[in-house]
């Protein structure tokens, strides 16, 4: 089994990307609550879609993180 060596800077970049994605998630939560309070179904579903996509991207970045 080959071990892929990635430079240490890659790990830091991945963490920064994931932190940015999680910050965007916090923003989407506020938008979702606002859509809920105003009963705006279109924005609520759009926000949910974006949120799931962000979570998927964050999970994908985890693969590139060195152990």
């Amino acid at each position: 089994m080959s071990i892929v060596r990635r430079p240490r800077g890659t790990s830091s970049a991945v963490i920064v990307y994931v932190i940015i994605l999680v910050s965007l998630q916090v923003f989407t939560v506020t938008v979702a609550v606002e859509a809920f309070l105003t009963d705006d179904e279109a924005i609520a579903w759009a926000t949910a879609g974006v949120s799931v996509a962000l979570a998927g991207m964050a999970a994908a970045f985890l693969r590139y993180l060195r152990r």
């Binding site: 963490i15 998630q25 809920f36 926000t47 949910a48 949120s51 979570a55 970045f61």
Partner: protein, 165 residues
Amino acid sequence: MTADAPTPLWERDFPYEAAAEEEVTRREFTRYLVLGAGAMAAGNVGLAVWTQLRSINTGEPRPIVALADVAVGGTYLFRYPADDDPAVLLRVDEQEIVAFSQKCTHLGCVVYYEAEARRWHCPCHEGNFKATTGEVISGPPTRRLGRIDVEVRDDGQVWALGARP
């Protein structure tokens, strides 16, 4: 430091074992972040489903007041859709009437009509809304006033048909 060196006094009094410290790796830290992102995504989907499925009480059609009892340019206070929901009707001219929820969309203070400026005014934080549409003119509110559909029926009564956010 050699193995047979005596243990310093400070280390006997305050034993600090670095090896026993639980270390959080970058990967673990990131995994927690990803789990948090997943939880927030699940919450957002849940909110969307809740928004889709819930039914807001928009009120049942009911008479409010006789149109003849409201002067042109005058207002009439009533409760709609529930008894604890203050609402206000404005007779714009002979033909046109509009009605809105009286709750300011900022923090829920009661708005009142300023005839000179032809606007709804919230005295709490100086929010202003257009008289006929309820749209925000100025101030901290970001959403228009809640609208109440009204119509005048053949017997001259003004009926509230339903409330909209």
